[in-house]
């Protein structure tokens, strides 16, 4: 006996009725069949139909048993959600490469219960219902689907998630807020970052810049939505402390966002974590730099408390490497790994005359003084009647200026050497500052601080103009000679940039870059000392909180790998980003972004109360619902929680398999004509102009209206069917007759009449092609039921009042008529598949003039192709009805079986010869 594996197998491409029939016949003849279908379920168009002409059988009833058969047949391997990638041929055998697309659901575990879809917040039009109904991102296309397994429609990463340095599941939490699932949204954010309330306030939100909706109208207010859920949770219930189950310990130097995020993640991994902080408060720049009017202290403190509750120990007032405190070397001895996240707190000097004068306060020190009340030099915290100049254009400068106003300063001027557009500060901060009364001197640079009796009395500046762009891409400022002027001020706050204070390193064994930041491996954040890692501003120079948090996460992951003795480098993450062009805008409507309520400028500039007031619940929900769901699946992971079978695998990968087959049957079917190409019928414009396939869904008991003929709850009184839309029409490049529309229209007219007996049903036709067995009789029956057939193909449809008007010439009367309608059904024709070109090239097939795949001889070789071993079945060869598609499928199966039998004989002979 020949080896089982040598049994030549067949590949059937497409599992519509034709592909299903072919597969069953070949399998029943004893050959192995791979049935490849690109959609999640088998069934093809026939599964979408209500009844079938001419017998009026229920389509699902006669098809479903066959669908079940292909799934359970021992000789058939069903490969749904799969595509053919290429075919090579050798000695009469084909090698087919098939892509099994990731379903993100393990179908060996999925029970089809649908618990996941109930919680999925993403709703999109269901293709199976031709957009007459919706589905979720996790779905089965229809209840009788085979296999009855869920699939997640994931199109990639949304740009928001990609742009976020920490890759927060933005689309996910936005979608959950849209569904008022605030707790779930917050939990999802916390899966990535421990600071939702902080980041929801202070983030520079690159996600919003990237947001695809920005190209449609305005970006989603992603940041404010994050704040909304953080605020929504009134009292923070701290997480229960995690049991330290690993005996290793990590020391973190610096309790800023980078250090604390790493501490949080490492605690969750199960390590003992101690954070050493030089200042008397935890939070780094969040506490010492950012003023309370942007970030109330209680918000920060609550989020830090949650981290401490995990068992993280924070030792304040402990500057590592300073007199009386442990040194880096001490820590290396006592801990298994060290993370340095000391930030960049040393203000750069202006390097001009007069910087030593009383009244000159570096920006970072000034903010620290404001925030910590005690710390800092002796300018006092009362600036009443004083005039202040702040030098610089970044966020520190803006924060210092707005704080100075709040401390009573009479006049605050920001001096910046370039123009407004080049300012690194966030534009909305600049606007807020301006509203509060901060003045700006753009294109001016300080050259000298003037003093009297050791006190600042003025700042001498020179005017600048912008020259060629420099390395940063911004135009370089050039002084204009002779344009000096003096600002009369008594306080000067330089805020032109910061560097890390690396005094703690002592021995100086850590490698440093030429910008004075710590040198690390960009992927792993490892320094040159084994077991010592670094991240945040200390590595990048002054950047943003979310970048620091991202670095903290990255460091925690590296340290975990290091402590587990794993390879440090981590596998790349992420999916391709969904570009705007690929976003599904079918349901999008223009709608302005929600505006953040704020205290009015005159009230808010008086104290340090929070300026932005946060969204109301209604605002937040409406804003969240603007999200375009760019990637379909939002990775909110609600399904993961809901699925009791643990079947959901969000990081599943596509898979490619190679199949060796002796015959290929192509049964890829047809596409429907796009009715918008005949704009005179107003398809896509009038909701009550639909296509024949949409009518099938409307009429189907499993369809969007459970089989009732109604649109928006209205039962139509006048129903008009129009033949030949997208058929026999040179101007839309379809010269052929689609062969099924006359009969399916007759069937649908019958169904319409049957379901709405008092409706007036009119069919406009040019000829009625009732050529098949039982067809003419069926056509007779339909007319006898009282359906009106009028000869003439309508020319256009327009609205009059709330009726549609179908304008046509009744060619038998020779009169132009206007027929009112509540529902118009376009008998849209049948087209070759969109990707027929690709497939033809892959398989070496020819196409006939109409674009369908060409058979070898129109009369005598109807299922063979130019390529030996490749056969055609069903509508991929030409438009046809189900009886013809099935007949041809059986013929193709016979062709394939002949080829496979010959191959088997050859194999057997070779084997016998070998044995002899």
């Amino acid at each position: 006996m020949s080896d089982e594996k040598k049994q030549p197998a067949a590949l059937v491409l497409g599992a519509g009725i034709a592909g299903i029939q072919t597969a069953l016949d070949i399998a029943n003849a004893g050959f192995q069949v791979y049935l490849v279908e690109r959609l999640p379920s088998v069934g093809g168009h026939m599964a979408q139909l209500d009844k079938t002409f001419p017998t009026l059988d229920c389509s699902a009833c006669i098809l479903t048993p066959k669908m079940v058969d292909v799934a359970s047949h021992p000789n058939i391997e069903l490969m749904t959600y799969s595509e053919l990638l290429g075919v090579t041929e050798q000695a009469g055998m084909f090698r087919a490469k098939v892509l099994k697309k990731a379903r993100y659901v393990d179908i060996s575990k999925c029970t089809g219960c649908g618990d996941c879809a109930k919680v999925c917040p993403v709703v999109v039009p269901n293709e199976f219902d031709v957009e007459m109904a919706d589905r979720h991102a996790i779905y089965v296309p229809f209840p009788q689907a085979v296999p009855n397994k869920y699939t997640i429609d994931k199109r990639g990463w949304p740009p928001c998630k990609d742009a976020c340095p920490a890759h927060i599941d933005v689309q996910g939490y936005v979608a959950l807020i849209g569904q008022r699932k605030f707790a779930e949204a917050l939990a999802l954010i916390r899966q990535t970052i421990p600071f939702p309330g902080v980041i929801g306030r202070v983030c520079n939100h690159p996600c919003e810049t990237a947001c695809n909706r920005g190209q449609y109208d305005q970006p989603i207010a992603i940041c404010a939505l994050k704040r909304f859920v953080a605020d929504w949770e009134k009292e923070t219930e701290p997480l229960p402390p995690v049991e330290v189950h690993r005996d290793q310990a990590v020391a973190i130097i610096g309790a800023g966002p980078a250090g604390l995020t790493a501490a949080h993640d490492l605690a969750l991994y199960g390590y003992r974590v101690v954070v050493f902080e030089a200042l008397p408060v935890a939070g780094g720049m969040l506490a010492a730099g950012i003023p309370a009017y942007r970030l109330p202290r209680s918000v920060l403190e609550a989020e830090i408390a949650r981290i401490q509750a995990l068992g993280v120990e924070i030792k304040l007032n402990t500057p590592i490497g300073r007199e009386g405190n442990p040194s880096l070397e001490d820590l290396r001895r006592d801990f298994d790994a060290i993370l340095i996240t000391v930030g960049a707190h040393q203000e750069l000097q202006l390097r001009i005359e007069g910087e030593e004068l009383e009244g000159v306060v570096p920006g970072v020190l000034f903010l620290r003084a404001c925030n910590l009340k005690s710390h800092g030099p002796a300018i006092g915290l009362d600036l009443t009647a004083r005039k202040v100049a702040v030098v610089g254009g970044g966020n520190v400068a803006i924060d210092a200026a707005r704080s100075a106003l709040r401390l009573g300063a009479e006049l605050v001027t920001i001096v910046y050497r370039r123009s407004r557009t080049e300012m690194p500060a966030s534009p909305w901060e600049v606007e807020d500052a301006e509203e509060e009364g901060v003045r700006f001197q753009f294109l001016a640079n300080p050259i000298r601080i003037l003093g009297r009796d050791g006190q600042v009395v003025g700042l001498e500046c020179i005017r600048m103009e912008l020259g060629e762009p420099d390395a940063s891409g911004r135009r370089r400022p050039i002084p204009i000679p002779g344009s000096e002027f003096v600002l009369e001020v008594d306080v000067v706050i330089p805020a032109i940039g910061q560097t890390p204070d690396l005094g703690f390193m002592g021995e100086g064994k850590l490698a440093v870059t030429r910008w004075g930041t710590l040198a690390v491996d960009a992927d792993t954040l490892a320094t040159n000392l084994p077991g010592v890692f670094a991240g945040g501003d200390a590595v990048s120079g002054p950047a943003t909180a979310i970048q620091a948090i991202a670095a903290g996460k990255q460091a925690a992951e590296s340290i975990h790998r290091f402590l587990q003795g794993e390879e440090l480098a981590r596998p790349p993450k992420g999916l391709p980003v969904v570009p705007y062009e690929e976003v599904d805008l079918r349901r999008a409507r223009k709608q302005a972004r929600a505006e953040m309520p704020k205290l009015s400028p005159d009230i808010r500039a008086a104290d340090f109360d929070e300026v932005e007031l946060g969204f109301t619940e209604a605002q937040a929900v409406a804003e969240a619902q603007r999200c375009l769901n760019c990637a379909f699946c939002s990775e909110c992971r609600q399904c993961v929680i809901a699925c009791q079978a643990h079947a959901i695998v969000h990081d599943m990968q596509d898979e490619t398999v190679e199949l060796e087959v002796g015959a290929i049957v192509v049964a890829t079917g047809f596409d429907l004509f796009d009715a918008t190409l005949e704009p005179e019928f107003g398809y896509g414009r009038y909701p009550n102009v639909i296509t024949g396939l949409q009518f099938e869904r409307l009429s189907s008991a499993s369809g969007p209206t459970a089989g009732k003929i109604q649109l928006n709850g209205q039962v139509p009184k006048d129903i008009v069917f129009i033949h030949c839309v997208g058929s026999r029409h040179k101007q839309v490049d379809v010269e052929y007759c689609s062969r099924v529309c006359c009969m399916y229209t007759a069937k649908q007219a019958h169904l319409a009449h049957d379901k709405v007996p008092d409706a007036r049903v009119t069919v406009f036709y040019m000829d009625v092609r009732a050529f098949g067995k039982g067809f003419e009789e069926f056509y007779d029956r339909v007319r006898e039921e009282g359906i009106i057939y009028r000869r003439g193909n309508p020319s256009e449809i327009y609205k009059r009042g709330d009726k549609l008007i179908v304008r046509a010439e009744d060619t038998l009367l020779g009169q132009t008529v206007e027929v009112p309608a509540d529902l118009v059904v376009l008998a849209t024709g049948v087209r070759p598949r969109d990707d027929a070109d690709r497939l033809a090239e892959m398989l070496g097939l020819e196409r006939s003039e109409d674009g369908f795949f060409a058979e070898l001889h129109p009369e005598l070789r109807p299922v063979d192709t130019r390529r030996r071993g490749v056969f055609l079945a069903g509508t991929c060869q030409s438009p046809k009805d189900i009886p013809d598609a099935v007949a041809q499928a059986k013929a193709a199966a016979a062709g394939a079986i002949v080829t496979l039998s010959q191959l088997r004989r050859q194999m057997d002979e070779m084997e016998d010869g070998g044995e002899a």
Partner: protein, 378 residues
């Protein structure tokens, strides 16, 4: 004279006709007059000879081209009408008198309206700048082809001046043919006067040798259509003014300072839209005007309805004067809540404005050429 129907059917590719009736079904006058183009085609298909002379309804056709864009078999039913009119004109009998007058005037005076040739540049009166004569100077970047109605009709002259003003303001080097400009012949050709039209084309091509121009821009879509599609290859590209203005806006040469606080809708002229697929530019211009609120009519673009002013119908009333398409068009615009029904064609302007007057809707809606709105926004 009888038409040889067999020959005619072959020449006009009528043998492919499947008698679907889309042409007649879409024909805007088919519901109010006896004109049935599908029926005419049917007769041409089944008869040996055919006599068009007594068919008054042939003069009802406005040549809006709806039949032609709807025909699934790529037949050009509108051309069939022109062909049949040609036999009548050739014969001389059965031509409506006012059409005969327009033809006569076009050949003797160079305009279809019976005005004096030497007044053709009278529209320039009152302009604060000189309009250059391209024949005197020998060249210009832009040849401004004015056209008969825009040159003489007092209602349309402000449109003509507005366009010249925009050229001037945008710093365009433009010139006209002055009093030597003659009718484009678009309607002449549609009346069926094929020979006369052919000689007009010949003459114009001769005149073109006397100057150089970078492009030609017309006020009227009718002139635009003739020069673009029926004059053969000309030494310069031909544009309708809405296309040229779109370019000016895109390149920043035309900017708007003043608001036009009006709700405006737009009627697609057949010779701009259906004949030449210029649908986007007029809307683009309107939507660029500050303060203007734009909304399309339900029947717009390729689904637009003719105002009944084209194809010679400016001069012939047709067989049913009671029902006018322009009336429905105006009512639709009023129902939409529009204060202005904008057009980009002198015939549409006159026809629709007449309809507004007859319906007594002057207080509700105004018919304006796009140029008249543009000039308000400068």
């Amino acid at each position: 004279m009888k038409v040889n129907a067999r020959e005619f059917a072959r020449e006009y590719t009528l043998l492919e006709c499947i008698q679907c009736g889309r042409c007649t079904g879409g024909c805007p006058v088919s519901m109010k007059t006896a004109l049935n183009i599908r029926g005419l085609i049917y007769q041409l298909l089944i008869e040996d000879t055919f006599s068009p002379a007594s068919l008054d309804e042939l003069w009802d056709c406005t040549n809006c081209l709806t039949c032609t864009i709807r025909c699934p078999k790529d037949i050009r039913p509108a051309d069939v009408i022109i062909g049949l009119r040609g036999f009548i004109v050739g014969e001389g009998k059965g031509v409506p008198p006012r059409i005969r007058d327009a033809l006569m005037s076009a050949f003797t005076r160079g305009n279809t309206l019976g005005f004096a040739t030497e007044d053709r540049d009278s529209w320039t009166e009152g302009l604060p700048f000189e309009v250059k004569n391209i024949l005197d100077e020998g060249q210009a970047d832009l040849l401004y082809y004015v056209g008969c109605t825009p040159a003489y009709d007092p209602r349309v002259q402000p449109v003509t001046r507005a366009l010249a003003t925009v050229f001037y303001e945008a710093g365009i080097d433009f010139g006209t043919l002055g009093v030597d400009e003659v009718c484009c012949g678009n309607e002449i050709r549609r009346i069926g006067e094929a020979e006369g039209f052919a000689s007009m084309v010949e003459e114009f091509r001769e005149v073109c040798k006397e100057f150089q121009a970078g492009r030609m821009v017309t006020v009227s879509p009718h002139c635009f259509n003739a020069f673009k599609n029926e004059y053969g290859e000309l030494p310069f590209p031909v544009q309708h003014y809405t296309q040229f203005l779109t370019e000016l806006i895109d390149t920043g040469k035309l900017t708007f300072r003043r608001e036009v606080r009006k709700k405006v809708t737009y009627h697609d002229p057949c010779f701009l839209g259906k004949h030449n697929q210029v649908y986007d530019e007029p809307r683009y211009i309107l939507q660029r005007l500050p303060g203007l609120e734009f909304e399309d009519l339900d029947r717009s673009r390729e689904r637009s309805v003719c105002c009944e002013g084209g194809g010679g119908r400016m001069w012939a009333e047709g067989t049913n004067v009671e029902v006018r398409l322009a009336h429905q068009r105006v009512r639709d615009a009023v129902d939409l809540g529009a204060e202005v029904l904008a057009v980009a064609c002198p015939f549409c302007l006159l026809t629709l404005e007449d309809a507004v007057k007859i319906l007594g809707l002057d207080d509700k809606i105004q018919v304006m050429d796009i140029m008249e709105l543009v000039i308000q926004a400068l």
